[in-house]
């Protein structure tokens, strides 16, 4: 039994080594072709990188805007004014009850006395309340909706539910700026993905065009290889790898260019935001955050190579 297991393990190991050996061979062929035509590969990589830089910059800006909107959303709360008849203890009970629900992240109770003190501090008219003899200000609860509620409709649904609670007099939502921020973010996001999709198609075409040129330049070698028994995978793999390499290096170059571009834009953007009393800034991007873009670029390279291989390789005779 042991011998059988050992034999099977050895067979698997041999298969794995054979696959690795084949992959290594294809990789070496691809690298040899890159070396032989380094200038053309560099040109294709550079053009592809330029095509990918713009969408990468846009998507990183959108990410910054999104982070900023998230911050705003996180700090967003609405104010619930309770009936004048509701006292501090009842208000605290209401606030605590709301905190236990999933759509409320936090609540803060502002007692009547605290409201009067805040009013006095803000307006300097503390004497006015004292002159009335009785504090006319209601108990107030500040409500922070749960973070998952990114949609203002969800916030409005929460507000409608709380408004039906006993003891609630009025709710001040002040949602307009949040709606604007959400709308701006959604528009930017959509526009950026649209631009990214269009430029990704251009990048696919650039890589495809380069691989087509490679196929044309190597048509004699391919025809000869077919005649002496090259398999489809043997012929295709180096071109797949070539496309992936263009995508990888174009993605890395585009990532560097995008980071540099954001760095150059950071100060002017912050200055513009400050002039509108906003603390918005283009946030520095961590390397790991760029990895998905580089991987997407590799996929673009592979797709470009695939399109070229499928359309061109079959035309090279013999079959």
């Amino acid at each position: 039994m042991n011998a059988e297991v050992q034999a099977r393990a050895q067979a698997h190991a041999r298969s794995l080594l054979a696959v690795l050996g084949t992959a290594q061979r294809h990789g070496q062929t691809a690298l040899r072709r890159v070396r032989e035509r380094a200038g053309l590969y560099a040109l294709a990589t550079g053009c592809t990188a330029l095509a990918l830089t713009l969408p990468m910059v846009l998507l990183l800006i959108v990410q910054s805007v999104g982070d900023q909107v998230d911050d705003w959303r996180e700090s967003y709360y609405f104010t619930v004014y309770l009936d004048p008849a509701v006292d501090d203890a009842e208000g605290e009970a209401l606030a605590a009850g709301w905190r236990d629900t999933g759509d409320v992240r936090n609540t803060t109770l502002i007692t009547r006395a605290q409201a009067a003190a805040d009013f006095a501090a803000a307006t300097g008219a503390g004497d006015l309340i004292a002159a009335l003899g009785e504090n006319p200000l209601p108990v107030v609860i500040q409500v922070w909706p749960a973070l998952a509620q990114s949609d203002t409709d969800e916030v409005l649904a929460l507000v409608a539910r709380l408004r039906d609670s006993d003891g609630v007099d009025e709710i001040d939502t002040d949602l307009v700026w949040l709606e604007r921020a959400n709308a701006v973010h959604a528009t930017l996001q959509r526009a950026s993905w649209l631009v990214a999709a269009l430029l990704a198609v251009i990048a696919v075409a650039l890589v495809g065009s380069h691989i087509r040129q490679q196929l044309a330049a190597l048509s004699d070698e391919i025809a000869l290889s077919k005649l002496i028994g090259a398999t489809d995978s043997t012929l295709r793999a180096p071109f797949w790898i070539g496309g992936a390499l263009i995508g990888l290096f174009a993605g890395l170059l585009a990532a560097v260019l995008a980071v540099v571009t954001l760095g150059v834009l950071a100060d002017p953007v912050a200055a513009i935001a400050a002039s509108y009393q906003s603390n918005f800034e283009l946030r520095p991007t961590a390397f790991w955050a760029l990895v998905p873009y580089v991987l997407a670029s590799v996929v673009i390279g592979v797709i470009g190579a695939g399109v070229a291989i499928e359309t061109r390789l079959r035309r090279i005779q013999p079959a």
Binding site: G21, I228, G229, A230
Partner: protein, 226 residues
Amino acid sequence: MIQCEHVSVRYARAGANALGNVSFHMPSGSMGFLTGASGAGKSTLLKLLNAVVQPSGGRVTVNDTDTASLTRKSLPGFRQRIGSVYQDNTLLTDRSVHANVALPLDIIGMPAHESAGRVRAALKKVGLLDAASFNPSELSGGEQQRVAIARAVVNRPDVVIADEPTGNLDRELSREIMRLFWELNQSGVTVLIATHDDEMVEQMEMPVIVLDAGNLVYDGFAEAEA
């Protein structure tokens, strides 16, 4: 073994048969010539043998494989067992003689350290071991053709087919190339050479298949068997 049974080939554009009802049987380990004037169908017949062209009618069998049964997957393995030599030698000028000869071994995935010995042996056989690092363009026509022969045999094929391998060479070089094919045949490989060099064919005293306008007009193998 090479066998053609009532084989015909009709190219749609040409309108006429490139080959018509050709039948012959070439036993394993034999050597022979395929002759005929230009346009007689020699190249078409050789293309049938490595399945570059499929017959319009009849059956072609090489190494016990009916070429009509080949699939996209099985075709490469079939071709790996056939060595091909062409008049224009089809060497790749962007790599060395060694790399050219190693190409069939690269294709089957033989590791470089294993293929190096086979390439050296093949180059030694054709007398070009010292030229391994040269570029093919640095060699004479005869030497290039010897490199092509080394490439055709490096994978130890069962059958070697050659299409006008001495077409561009002078008499002396042609004799040298033919000697190489003969030595190859002596090691058990089936060798079929298409040529229009009648003098060479007479000198070699091997069975001959003669084509004329796509028709088989003489079958030296059948004659030899009889």
